[in-house]
Symmetry: C2
Subunit: 325 residues, 2 copies
């Protein structure tokens, strides 16, 4: 197998971006020998071009996104986050005929349809495995692994921060103390409302539901874990139950209904056993029955691994070979 | 999206084959509208061409494999099982330049290397998701989802029959009674040694290890559940443990070591909670951490769904479009 060389442009070198750079340095030779693809980093968009970073030469840094977007990279990896700049970057990359890999859940939840249409029109790939549940390969499970089956429901713990807080409350902490600990440990943002008010879980569930169901989403009831008290948890425990922040997507007559809320689960429910910052998704499908996926839903390295796996898929795809070959 | 038409030749219409025919009939229109691919059944190799079967016209049946292999099908689905005939069929199909999807674990475990080389040489696909753990999309998780990461270990319950028997013994049955019940319920063959002596689990683990690791398999210690007694299970229970038939693949200095054996697990081990005919696989990878996959590892419909998903992947791949377009 002769090695094909792929040039990666990287937008953003923060928590996930620097994890990606480190992972690529570690895995590059394995990937070359196993998949016949040599992955090289081209330009890297950073905020501070003077800062030194391990594994990369400072000469590859730029503070001008156009150096990355309009350069000669084969795949653009978008890890700046947010919706406005990131959206403009991804649109420009796709319209430049570049394959894109993103971990940006908010971007997909808001303008995903438009971006996928752009990618289709240009015949390029838009990889987004990392955008939902980090290291758990749930996107490909729904789009490929279950392509031949009809999904009937999805049920999951999709927000690791909320689950970490509930787990600490089970250990006796108050909500406020548990939130503070989650912030200290880097699981929760200084402004935690996206996590604890259920917005993050809703965005993830919307993406998963759009992959799993052909029907439109017709309703979404969203409640976060703010308001769950130690007394609620104790009461549940007395009944042999636990409280978890559960996101469900189910078929209803008009389409698909989403529900995201703290819920009592009996102790033998597979989701009841998910603790700390972990994620889990239970998928029910007509022929396959129940499948459970469990793992780390966030974090620099699991997310970086999902991004890198998407880059490899694109590099290996014959679509790409056809474009460049 | 204009629908592309794909013709499927089916080898074998037994338990999984008839499940595949039924599933295809149910999912065909959804697949066409979602993926732009119309899947049509061509010739079907059967043992008894006179028997009527639902969803298919008797005129598509043949008792001559060459009618399927040398016909005009785009994808050949091999569900006859066994090694000798199935191997000859798959080789001929690949050398005819046909894509092949198989659920045949024994065939891959014995001559997989040769078959993948044949497929590579002809530039066709060999799909085998269904060959390991039925409906759990573990093959694609290892080959695509974790492509960017280094797997450090695999640990799983890979034989549903053994797990069903152990579960019944936990309920108080003897090994012999539990085996008889598994046979009555269709989980175990009349000749159960492949299952209860660990051969089936070893074959699956060999396939998974070859996907997950670059290093060669240097040793395999195999013991089945024959010999596990009710007293062993009671003793484990007294210590807060359970007994499970566990297959592990781990890195050792010279390569990868396989171990398949009944093992005591503490009650909070995720594999301890796997009961009845279910399968589960725990994958540890350097960046991603621990991932757990759980579901039905066998059965007509879960296996058929994995086969059909592979067919769809092939039909959607641009490799295929390039060949025919």
């Amino acid at each position: 197998m002769s090695a094909r060389s792929i040039r990666i442009g990287l937008l953003g070198c923060g928590v996930v971006g620097s994890g990606f750079v480190e992972l690529l340095a570690h895995e590059r030779s394995r990937i070359a020998s196993r998949f016949g693809v040599t992955l090289n980093l081209g330009q890297i968009l950073v905020r501070d071009g003077e800062k030194t970073r391990p594994h990369v030469a400072r000469s590859t840094f730029t503070t001008n996104a156009l150096d990355v977007l309009d350069g000669d990279c084969d795949v653009i990896v978008e890890l700046v986050g947010g919706v406005d700049c990131a959206g403009a970057y991804v649109r420009r990359a796709l319209r430049n005929g570049r394959n894109v890999v993103t971990a940006n859940k908010a971007l997909l939840a808001t303008t995903g349809r438009e971006l996928f249409d752009d990618a289709d029109r240009r015949g390029v790939a838009l990889g987004f495995e990392a955008s939902v549940c980090g290291g758990i390969p749930i996107v490909q499970a729904l789009t490929r692994g279950l392509a031949g089956d009809s999904v009937t429901s999805i049920r999951g713990i999709l927000n690791g921060t909320s689950n970490y807080i509930v787990s600490r409350m089970e250990d006796g902490m108050t909500f406020d103390d548990a939130l503070r600990l989650a912030q200290e440990r880097g699981f929760a943002e200084a402004e935690p409302s996206l996590d604890v008010d259920g917005v993050d879980a809703e965005q993830k569930l919307r993406i998963l539901a759009s992959l799993a169901f052909d029907e439109p989403i017709v309703s979404a009831a969203v409640r976060g874990i703010r308001g769950v008290t130690g007394a609620d948890i104790e009461e549940a425990r007395a009944d042999g139950c636990v409280i978890r922040h559960v996101a469900t997507a189910t078929r209803v007559p008009a389409g698909v209904a989403l529900r995201i809320e703290p819920r009592r689960l009996s102790a033998d429910d597979p989701l009841a056993r998910v603790r700390d910052e972990h994620n889990a998704i239970v998928v029910n499908a007509r022929a396959t029955g129940e499948l459970l996926f469990f793992g780390k839903g966030a974090g620099s390295m699991p997310t970086a691994a999902a991004v890198l796996s998407d880059v490899i898929s694109i590099a290996r795809s014959s679509q790409y070979a056809r474009m460049t070959g």
